[in-house]
Amino acid sequence: MEDYKFLFKIVLVGNAGVGKTCLVRRFTQGLFPPGQGATIGVDFMIKTVEVEGEKIKLQIWDTAGQERFRSITQSYYRSAHALILVYDISCQPTFDCLPDWLREIQEYANIKVLKILVGNKTDRHDREIPTEVGHYFAKQHEMYFLETSAKEAENVERLFYEIAAELIDQARSKDGSSAATTAAQRQTDSGSIGLGFSSLSAKAAQSNCCSGLGLGNNDNASGTVGSNNTSQGG
């Protein structure tokens, strides 16, 4: 008996100080650590969520943004199912670095990886990058886009839940086709990712049910999820 149906690895990347660790902390522990120091190397968090009636385990690897740790963080891209590329909406340079990050992702990550662009720190008033700019950039590079605030817990749940939902869709479509991964297969996969974006955004706009459920579960984490399941069994 496994306590989850899917396991997904999510890796957060982006410049130092854009709030990657805070996003993860907010999502996994529900708190916002005020004086968070720079991450060293790679941090690891786990969280089990329930999407569409399936229990999903999310392995979240939170990488250091500092240049010097790039040697080790790169090695974590490869096995990732989803990459969250974070920038700080109040800091232009972090946005300007995005092409570099994309290049790095291209080089080290799986080509089929799901990429999500996240503009963090929407609670700040000194915004430098308008939402449209971020949205446009994401569209250009075939990424899903979301603006979040780890401090205000805005869109954080939604971010991870939608990633989970998208990854499930991907996994299922892969199971359905169940063919060897040829070049053609890869193409169709990337096509499905493209489709996925639209469906994702549609879902996101349409309802908050998914994230609502996540919020409800948030406090006592996977513990409740586990017991829920067993009680259902009884």
């Binding site: 008996m1 306590d3 522990q29 120091g37 991450t39 060293i40 190397g41 790679v42 941090d43 690891f44 968090m45 786990i46 392995q59 690897w61 250091a64 240049e67 010097r68 740790f69 790039r70 040697s71 080790i72 790169q74 090695s75 974590y76 490869r78 096995s79 996977s222 513990g223 586990g226 017991s227 067993t230 009680s231 069994g233 009884g234």
Partner: protein, 835 residues
């Protein structure tokens, strides 16, 4: 199942739950129904958990469980599964103590049952359990899980496990290596490193499981280890500094293992296990880490790391490290000279360790690579910055270090190789000149590492020739480097410093040893060439440093090679210097004076070295006379710019060294002076053609006929020379060994009388050939060819007769010509001249 769950996990009733657990600890009771229904193994497992989590594992019940699993091993996998489920629930409920107990139980079971064949399935649950604990954010659980994992890693499994995957463990342990927890930072990092060590141990020897050498794993493992080691070096530095200032007393604590120490150990282990194909996968992330963390400048850590790698790597692969590092240098050609210098320094530090193992092509490959770097460095920089030249210096040092650890015969090979890469003198561009200098410098570096035993080996013809060409280079620094190379290779008794200044006073610290037989042969063969080059180089420039450098070489040559057999050659050389000073008009007055002082200084030196007192007296006489009349004819050498040429009276023939007088001196000392008397002193720009010079046939027509043939005749006599035939010189005493072989040889050898007879015969032949006229020689050897000659003549005659028949014209004259006037090609060579 559902029923059991229902009983066992009452969802939201903590009070009831507690009571329930209490009841359940007693195996006999339990709440009625379930006890009877539960399988035995589950009951046994349940019983090992204490009522109060703080009490720890129930030991007696644990023994029961162990016994049960040993007696019915088929249940082992189910026990594992059940324990895992229990622990999962406990962790979810944050009852960490219970989870720890479950882990402990699994450990014990694993230890007890590791010989069982069904262990494989149990291990699955075990590893899932470890993973579960690692996934939690509780640091204590992580440490505990790591310890369990390490225990597991130390177990040798019999059955292969194809589908086991370790990538999560590698990722997680690497992440733990970077842990930044406040209280438990070090223990977490230690755990991470230990875990990695465990994974390495588990996978490295087993081809069936995951390939640990994959880039995706190595890129996590290596940087994690380095990150921890890096910290160590910093700490070491701080400690060193503190100790230097006296703030810290060194406290050696051997039992306490710190993350850096352990990380280093693991790195050693990893590198030690790497096979040829895997070294690069270790080195690539290593180099990348050093790049990213900017650890090249300063390069203490880089050196430290590479030393570790070099020492622990399997020796046959060590040169791969050098190669890889050099490739990295290639890739870094655009980075700052400082970085490159550091890289080159690291290279020079480790290259020595690799040198012992690399032979033949790989050694030359490395040399070639280094030279290429030097070349690119020279060609890409338009002007020499201090940093760039430091970089070049570092490369040259690396080259020297590398050569230093090779056997001498390979050093020669290396020098030859470098020599061949030096650009031709014909190229006059500035960059070429720079390159020449740099390459010669590297040659010098290798040369200084070489300890000369015999000159013949140190100067193979193919090496000596280009070197002599370089000695005539128009560029002063180039020439001086060449001189230094000569000095390095000639100087067998560390006299180079002693002889660095020109002086007629005795050099007290001079140490010498009579030349060996092979050295004398070498002198006869090539000495003239070297001296020729020296004269040319002396005439090229009036710079004092260049001149004294040439003097130094000449003096070393004399100290190392002169003996009664070669002294005449050297005297001719000295006379040659003087003659150049006399006859070559283009030289400045100061330059001439300096040449004179060099000549006399060399004369004094040679007379002291060879111990010919007559010569010394004569030399002293000249010195005294010069001191009186013309002190500028004596050392020290004059600075051309500071001395005005007006006060120098150069027409002082009575102060010059006289050739005849030298000859007399030699004769008075009972030595042969024929060569001196008959030979011409050396002159400028004589072509030297070594292949011809010592070839005895060709030299007949050469300009220096006498010098060479006589030289070779001396060699010839030399074959049977013994101590008593060279008066005035004590030979190098060979240590006599009285072994069986030596005795046998002595018996087998011809007697002394027979030897003497043979020697006399040879001497006679030599004398005949040396002294008698050419025609006479021809006549002597002719008779043997009479037969063929007559035959030929007959043939010619018959031909002439035939022609006579066809043309009746001036046949008489033709016939006459054919018979009497022998054309030049019919002249017979003496027998000896036939090869």
């Amino acid at each position: 199942m559902a029923l059991i769950r229902c009983c066992f996990e009452p969802p939201e009733l903590p009070e009831f739950f507690d009571g329930f657990v209490q009841k359940c600890t007693d195996p006999s009771c339990c709440c009625g129904c379930c006890s009877a229904l539960r399988p035995r193994y589950k009951r046994l497992v349940d019983n090992i958990f204490p009522v109060n989590a703080e009490d720890g594992l129930v030991k007696s019940n644990m023994e029961k469980l162990t016994f049960y699993s040993l007696s019915s091993p088929d249940k082992l996998d189910r026990i594992g599964e059940y324990l895992y489920q229990k622990a999962t629930k406990d962790i979810n409920r944050k009852r960490y103590k219970l989870a720890e107990i479950a882990m402990e139980a699994m450990d014990l079971l694993l230890q007890a049952c590791h010989a069982q064949t069904t262990l494989n399935l149990f291990v699955e649950s075990f590893l899932r359990m470890v993973q579960k604990l690692l996934e939690d954010s509780n640091p204590n659980l992580k440490i505990m899980a790591t310890n369990s994992f390490v225990k597991f890693a130390n177990i040798n499994e019999d059955t292969p496990s194809y589908h086991r995957r370790y990538d999560f463990f590698i990722s997680k342990f690497s992440s733990m290596c970077h842990s930044d927890n406040h209280d438990l930072r070090d223990s977490l990092r230690l755990a991470g490193i230990k875990g990695l060590q465990g994974v390495i141990r588990k996978t490295v020897s087993d081809d069936l499981v995951e390939n640990i050498w994959d880039a995706q794993h190595m890129e996590k493992i290596v940087p994690s280890l380095l990150f921890n080691m890096q910290f160590c070096v910093n700490v070491m530095f701080v400690k060193k500094n503190l100790m230097a200032t006296g703030d810290l007393t060194p406290v050696e604590d051997a039992t306490h293992i710190t993350p850096p120490v352990l990380a280093e150990e693991v790195l050693r282990e990893l590198v030690g296990r790497a096979s040829f194909g895997h070294i690069r996968s270790v080195l690539k992330p290593l180099l990348m880490h050093l790049d990213r963390h900017e650890l090249w400048v300063p390069n203490t850590f880089a050196i430290h790391t590479f030393r570790i790698v070099m020492i622990s790597i399997q020796p046959q692969y060590s040169y791969t490290v050098v190669e890889t590092l050099m490739q990295h240098l290639d890739n870094n050609f655009k980075s700052s000279p400082k970085t490159r210098t550091s890289l080159a320094v690291v290279l020079s530090k480790i290259i020595a360790i690799a040198a012992g193992e690399s032979v033949g092509p790989s050694a030359l490959d490395i040399i070639n690579n280094l030279l290429t770097h030097l070349r690119t460095s020279v060609s890409t920089t338009t002007e020499i910055t201090a940093e760039e030249s430091q970089y070049q210096e570092a490369l040259i040092n690396a080259l020297g270090e590398f050569a230093n650890h090779h056997p001498d015969y390979q050093k020669i090979e290396i020098m030859l190789f470098i020599m061949n890469t030096v650009p031709d003198l014909s190229k006059k561009s500035k960059s070429d000149q720079m390159l020449q200098n740099i390459l010669l410098k590297s040659l010098l570096k290798v040369g200084t590492q070489y300890s000369t035993v015999s000159f013949e080996k140190a100067f193979p013809a193919s090496f000596l020739q280009p070197l002599l060409r370089m000695a005539r280079a128009p560029h002063d620094p180039t020439r001086m480097i060449v001189m230094q190379i000569f000095q390095a290779l000639l100087d067998r008794h560390q006299n180079e410093q002693v002889l660095s200044t020109v002086s007629v006073k005795p050099y007290t610290a001079l140490s010498q040893e009579p030349p060996s037989r092979s050295d004398i042969i070498f002198t006869h063969k090539y000495g003239a060439n070297i001296m020729q080059a020296l004269i040319d180089s002396m005439a090229l420039s009036d710079r004092v440093d260049a001149l004294s450098s040439s003097y130094n070489t000449a003096a070393l040559l004399i100290v190392e090679m002169s003996c009664s057999e070669t002294v005449q050659e050297f005297l001719l050389f000295i006379l040659g210097i003087q003659q150049v000073a006399h006859t070559v008009e283009s030289l400045g007055a100061v330059h001439k004076c300096n040449l004179h002082s060099i000549a006399i200084a060399l004369l004094v030196l040679i007379s002291r070295v060879t111990g010919i007192n007559n010569l010394l007296e004569y030399a002293q006489k000249i010195v005294d006379a010069r001191r009186e009349e013309a002190p500028y004819y004596l050392a020290p050498l004059l600075e051309p710019k500071k001395t005005s040429a007006k006060n120098l009276n150069l027409s002082l023939p009575h102060l010059a060294i006289d050739k005849l007088a030298l000859g007399e001196c030699l004769q008075n000392a009972g030595m042969d002076a024929q060569r001196l008397n008959s030979g011409a002193p050396y002159a400028l720009h004589q072509t030297d053609n070594p292949a011809h010079r010592h070839s005895w046939v060709e030299s007949v027509s050469a300009h220096m006929t006498q010098r060479n043939s006589s030289a070779d005749l001396t060699v010839y006599t030399g074959d049977v020379d013994s101590v008593n035939s060279s008066p005035g010189v004590c030979k190098r005493v060979l240590s006599q060994e009285y072994t069986f072989d030596a005795m046998k040889r002595a018996l087998a050898e011809p007697t002394e009388a027979a030897k003497r007879e043979q020697r006399e015969k040879q001497l006679q032949i030599v004398r005949t050939f040396r002294e008698s006229e050419f025609d006479e020689l021809v006549r002597r050897t002719e008779p043997k060819h009479d037969l063929i000659q007559n035959r030929l003549n007959e043939l010619f005659n018959s031909l002439a007769m035939e022609r006579q028949i066809t043309q009746s014209g001036d046949n008489k004259t033709l016939q006459l010509q054919a018979t009497n006037d022998k054309p030049i090609y019919e002249t017979n060579f003496p027998e000896l001249f036939y090869y």
